[in-house]
């Protein structure tokens, strides 16, 4: 090598100045993130609660049954949002991994680490609700076809990330190794997405697309949309909660963490 330059952002003193110019830069360092997220967190919590409560009551109580599946179609209102948000959270982990590998922003490592358990739980939820839904509709709890198998792989990838990250707490090298694994695992996402189109599978194709109107009436997709938003908010809320805890854990020796007295 010829020259090595490493500049990591330091934890600057002072509160969070929200000038747009260095907004993202500051957001990338733990302290401003902690302070800003302290404001966002309660708002996100309230919104999560509202959308999940409204969505659940609407979907489970008032949305119409399906002409063929009957009442069991209501599982969709849990299954679809959890599957969508699980995949999104892996996507987020992959992007955080790339950011951490290239720019070494500490928050990206924390973001990745904190998203994994939530993503794993959501994938698990999607798999379980899918099985419950599969029994009455297809006639089988589980079939080994492309969509289901690739979702199972997604679950294992989340587990792999969790296990590798916890192999050595706080070590940056392990953080980067984990980021690497998360990035390699990204190849699974297009496989999940296109499995229903590429291979023969029992799983129905997506009812939504950007170009066509949804193949279900508004009184069904509106509550579904509310549930999807609710699940996204839920992910965001729990993720941010975990990130804040992790920041405190990692920075527990620094002055600004010690001076927090409302813990």
């Amino acid at each position: 090598m010829k020259r090595m330059v490493n500049r990591k952002q330091k934890t600057e003193p002072g509160g969070c100045a929200l000038k747009m110019g260095n907004f993202f830069h500051r957001l990338g360092s733990p302290r401003p993130f902690y302070e800003l997220s302290g404001v966002v967190l309660p708002v996100a919590g309230v919104l999560t609660l509202i959308s999940l409560v409204v969505g659940s009551i609407w979907a489970l109580g008032f949305a119409p049954p399906d002409y063929q599946q009957g009442e069991s179609v209501r599982i969709m209102y849990i299954h679809v949002p959890s599957a969508i948000v699980a995949q999104s959270s892996y996507m987020m982990m992959g992007i955080a991994g790339v950011i951490f590998l290239i720019w070494r922003i500490k928050i990206a490592d924390i973001a990745l680490q904190c998203a994994a358990p939530i993503g794993a739980s959501l994938t698990f939820l999607a798999l379980v609700t899918g099985a419950i839904w599969g029994k009455p509709t297809w006639g089988a709890w589980w079939v080994w076809d492309a969509r289901l198998t690739s979702t199972l792989v997604l679950f294992f990838l989340f587990i792999g990330v969790i296990v590798l990250r916890s192999a050595k707490d706080g070590s940056e090298a392990v953080g980067r190794a984990t980021a690497m694994l998360a990035v390699v695992g990204l190849v699974n996402l297009p496989i999940i997405k296109f499995s229903v189109d590429w291979w023969f599978t029992l799983h129905q194709p997506s009812s939504f697309s950007l170009t066509e109107s949804p193949s279900m009436p508004a009184e069904m997709w509106l509550p579904l949309l509310v549930m999807v938003i609710g699940f996204y908010l839920f992910f965001f809320f729990t993720w941010m909660y975990r990130v804040r805890t992790e920041i405190l854990k990692r920075e527990h020796r620094s002055q600004w963490v010690r001076s927090i007295d409302d813990v």
Binding site: L101, W144, T149, V153, F156, L157, I159, G160, V163, L164, A167, K168, S171, A173, V174, R176, A177, M180, L181, V184, G185, I191
Partner: protein, 222 residues
Amino acid sequence: MRIILLTVKRDLLLYFRKPGDIFNPLAFSLLVISLFPLGVGPSADILGEISAGIIWVAALLTTLFSIDLMFKEDYEDGTLEQMILGREPLLLVVYGKIIAQWLVGGLVITLLSPLLGMMFYVNTDGILATVLALMLATPTMTLIGSIGAALTLGLNKGGVLIAILILPLYLPVLILGVAMIDTATAGDNYAGHVLWLAAILAISIGFAPLATEQGIRISLSE
């Protein structure tokens, strides 16, 4: 190019001086799969039905156990450091190590597979497909496995951690491989499986060593 050959030669030499690294994983997996007939009964019908799966279990076990040792010793005695610092690109050294690893692991199990096939009453078509499938799949398994081996260097968690990291990535290869043998045993055309396995191999040859190289650098920065 020269460095790839030199690395292959060096690693083969080391494997031959310490044959346990090749022999033990192989012996273990052969032992495990010879327990199957005892477990499910020696009926040709049942064994023929599950034979493809059993042969793949053998291939998986062998790869998993030997891949764990791939960089371990080089890491412990400091030669891996020298490979990073040397003028020759680490990536080429990684290619060499992967080739050597495959020669003593994947290739050996591929060559042994007709024997296993006969043990489990696979017919001639099936045996041919087994060899072809393993020939295409074991290099992929070594390539992907090397990423896991690089990422877990120095963690002292042993083979279980590697297994959790890389087995999910093996799943597509495993599914295609088993389906290919089953299809062939039934006497059908399995060109599609061959093409899929070859496609996965092609992409792994190009990109997996890149990830492995980065993984080594990351793990050594500790």
